[in-house]
Symmetry: C2
Subunit: 526 residues, 2 copies
């Protein structure tokens, strides 16, 4: 492992009158000999005495890379190389995930997550940004809430593993531009306002102590490419590694915002845009997060909807993966047409609620026409990004080696359902790969491999960013994508075939079962 | 001025949708163009907004060299290059002198000094060292007292000039090894105990905030060559500049300890040793610091002693420069022989006090045989350093281009008197030069000229340190030097000549006046 921290064990000769080099110099000479020219952080100078003597000059130095040189940030008695830890953080606007990594072996020792404490200042990012705009004291509170969330994760990790944050040398943080601005105590209004020039895009290595993070060394925040293309995406690009391969891949991260990176080792074309909260269950009346009581899967059995509820109890609402399934089933079985209109004749579940038709997907829980429209607009925005970037680059779907879908969406949403409603493009299922928490993955990799710092520079240099807002026919393309799966059904040949099969089965009176392969257990949804 | 800080004025284009670089990148690009690739300190990132907009992108960046890269440590609205300040500190064990320097013009804007607050923990260094040995809380108190002394100097400078410490970018500190250990909160017992390996000898650039010093950037502590050859001497060597000249010079700093550097651009031989407190008026019964009431000059008029008292009032004691004069006069006029024994027949001023002869140099104030012995031992130790290093290097007195005497001693002690008693070697008076506060001077120069950082490396590399303790015949040489001026009077030809003249005058009945040229006004002594 050649990461951004090192633990170097030294067995040094004790000072004599003939060799009365200073303790500092003796250690630096030892480190230099081991291949690590370094400097001393002031706090560590105070550890030299009485440690060096007590340890009989058998010491382990903890080195943290500060972006320019190695800094000695800790000295310990004896050989402590097996206690070499680092932290990787995925700083999401909703959830903050923290991973404790053994930097000697690369092993993940623990991973915890919790809601971002910023939520107290607004569930969506814009509310938070407005809350602290020109309110330095609120900005400071939001900064503190961010740091506190990370620190709570560290405490939980310590309870689980016995390793405290202060036992770790470095921390890497991947987050979007707003999250990083908040972590650093900066105003983030710039992220969402013209001309979209953020305050800081390459924070680099910042001393943990100055950020309130109890690591010995530095907090490395992933650089962002532009306002909407943050360090989380850059980290994800790093993690999936297609930026150094020949085959062209797409990396798609979809949530409240959608971000797409398309390319290979020669080029990286990217874009980002608001998708809307609908994909995550927000702005849907009975939408909820993927917690107990959420419908996270919807299938089809015996001519009717079949739902799965997280926790196996009564349904209280529906989460993102459930919505995608629900819409797919409604569409494939003709309960909803390609314009998203419910077909009341198809089932007694479709009922008139106030002025609008709605489907009762679980006892007393309805998904109505407005919910559908909201969701369709959102999926259209997401899909349009993909289509536009492909078109701009002159790359066809067939040429894509892999289409990575990042995050919880990629992990929990059923591929077939997502394709059926036109959220994902219709491509071979084995080329449609969940990248998992790629942001966290990239942060973890960087801890362990400092050569990736150069890769990061290369990625940022190559990334060409398309401002969708400035694209003339973007709206036009998006409107075409507001059908299910798309105005042009030929773009979704497998969906077209499926529809034909279902129609044929229905005509033959043999109702189709819900046969889509479900990746992984049905226990957790989005 | 190409110092260790820079202020760079930037007129940048405001962000547009076409050029939406981050504020951070915009400034770093501007700095790079101006020749200063730099990094941002986290605290300054928080200043970007709303400053950049408010300033219409006309900004001044303060850059501090951190030993590896330039750090942006401040951003200001408009062109503030004319407010570019730095601080130089001579961190003495008795006195701490601080100079405020305009780093644009090199002008000294103010200089203040005060007693080192460490004195509360012992007037001599050893007492302080023992006070905090293995007493971390006392060590912390001494560290705080050191920092407080510097901060009080900064407050006084602010009152005088309107420029606060926090308006300054960098601070340079020259002090001996113990002083630097105390400033950094380190145990300093190592300085005086075998094997004389100090904890830290190259502190380098440490963030001011981490030391409790309110500069924007860093505190650079001069490196020390060895336990007894501290940053003050290294700084003095830098200031006098003989290390880069062809002519061979000696740099002699004398106080409680004596340090000597001899050499030129090719070699630097150095040594250090305890001289004893006698030279500064300590360990002499009526000795005192050079304050009001101290006899600071002693001359000869009408066959008798003639004293000058600081403040022109009644004498309360005698300071270093007065003692050197007194002994010179006593010796030259036969009141004391070359072994330092008072000659009672010479004057009614020489009286029996308890068991010992003593001279009443001022009403009711006596300098006795024990005081003389103490002082002679001390001056012998100092002289022996010079003789030994000259002998070791094979350099004769005649070959010395300049013999620099640093510090208050060099400034206030009369050359003729110092030669007469054998404290300084007997060489041409125009080659015997007071170097003033060379330690402070070197610290000031470094603020203004970063190329001296390389010179420092060169100086340290070339310095060959002689451990006098390990020299076999050191004691032997020293005993020879315990006569006045020396056992071998031929080493002091001008003193020999002077004695002959005085004897001749006395024989002729024409008493000699005190005719030694006194450098500078008679107002301040040592």
């Amino acid at each position: 492992m050649k990461g951004i921290s090192e633990k170097v064990y030294l067995e040094l000769a004790a000072p004599t009158e003939e060799d009365s080099r200073s303790d500092q110099q003796r250690i630096l000479d030892g480190l230099k000999e081991a291949g690590f020219p370094a400097a001393f952080a002031p706090a560590v100078l105070r550890r030299l005495y009485p440690l060096c003597e007590q340890a009989g000059w058998k010491l382990t130095a903890s080195l943290a890379w500060d972006g320019a040189v190695w800094q000695v940030v800790e000295l310990e008695d004896g050989d402590t190389r097996q206690r070499h830890y680092g932290l990787a953080v995925d700083l999401g606007s909703t959830t903050v995930v923290t991973r404790l990594i053994h930097c000697g072996t690369g092993q993940c020792l623990g991973e915890v997550s919790r809601y971002n404490g910023q939520i107290a200042y607004g569930t969506d990012i814009l509310t938070r940004i407005f809350a602290c705009k020109d309110q330095p004291q609120v900005r400071e509170q939001i900064r503190q809430a961010t740091v506190d969330t990370i620190r709570e994760n560290l405490r939980e990790l310590e309870e689980k593993t016995g390793v405290a944050g202060s036992d770790c040398i470095q921390m890497t943080v991947a987050g979007n531009a707003t999250m990083i601005h908040f972590l650093l105590g900066l105003d983030a209004f710039c992220v969402f306002s013209t001309p979209y020039a953020v305050h800081v895009d390459r924070p680099g290595f910042l001393p943990g102590a100055q950020l309130g993070i109890p690591v010995k060394g530095y907090v490395f925040c992933f650089p962002c490419r532009s306002n909407y293309l943050g360090g989380d995406i850059v980290s994800g690009t790093l993690a999936t590694g297609f930026y150094r391969r020949e085959g062209i891949c797409a990396f798609f991260d979809i949530g409240t915002n959608g971000e797409l990176v398309l390319g290979n080792r020669d080029f990286l074309l990217c874009g980002a845009g608001a998708a809307g909260p609908a994909l995550e269950g927000g702005s849907v009346k009975t939408g909820m997060r993927a917690v107990e009581g959420a419908v996270d899967r919807v299938g089809w059995q015996n001519g009717d909807l079949q739902v799965h509820v997280l926790g196996e109890g009564a349904a209280r609402g529906i989460c993102g993966s459930g919505i995608v399934d629900l819409l797919a089933v409604l569409f494939l079985h003709g309960w909803m047409d390609l314009k998203g209109r419910l077909n009341p004749g198809k089932s007694p579940r479709i009922q008139k609620r106030e002025d609008s038709w709605a489907v009762e997907y679980a006892p007393g829980l309805f998904f109505d026409q407005e919910d559908i429209e909201e969701f369709v607009k959102t999926k259209a925005a997401a899909y349009t990004m993909v289509e536009y970037v492909l078109r701009e680059s002159g790359i066809s779907l067939e040429e894509l080696e892999t289409f990575y879908v990042a995050g919880a969406f990629g992990k929990h949403v059923d591929k077939e359902s997502a394709i059926a409603i036109g959220l994902y493009p219709d491509l071979d299922r084995d080329r449609l790969v969940s990248a998992g928490n790629a942001s966290l993955e990239g942060a973890s990799q960087l801890l362990l491999d400092r050569s990736l710092l150069e890769d990061l520079d290369g990625i940022l240099e190559r990334m060409i960013y398309i401002q969708f807002g400035a694209v003339e026919d973007f709206l036009h393309i998006m409107i075409a994508a507001q059908a299910i799966p798309h105005t042009d059904l030929d773009r979704f040949p497998t969906v077209k075939k499926r529809l034909e099969e279902i129609r044929a089965e229905e005509a033959a009176g043999t109702p189709s079962g819900f046969s889509d392969p479900v990746p992984g257990p049905l226990l957790s949804g989005l």
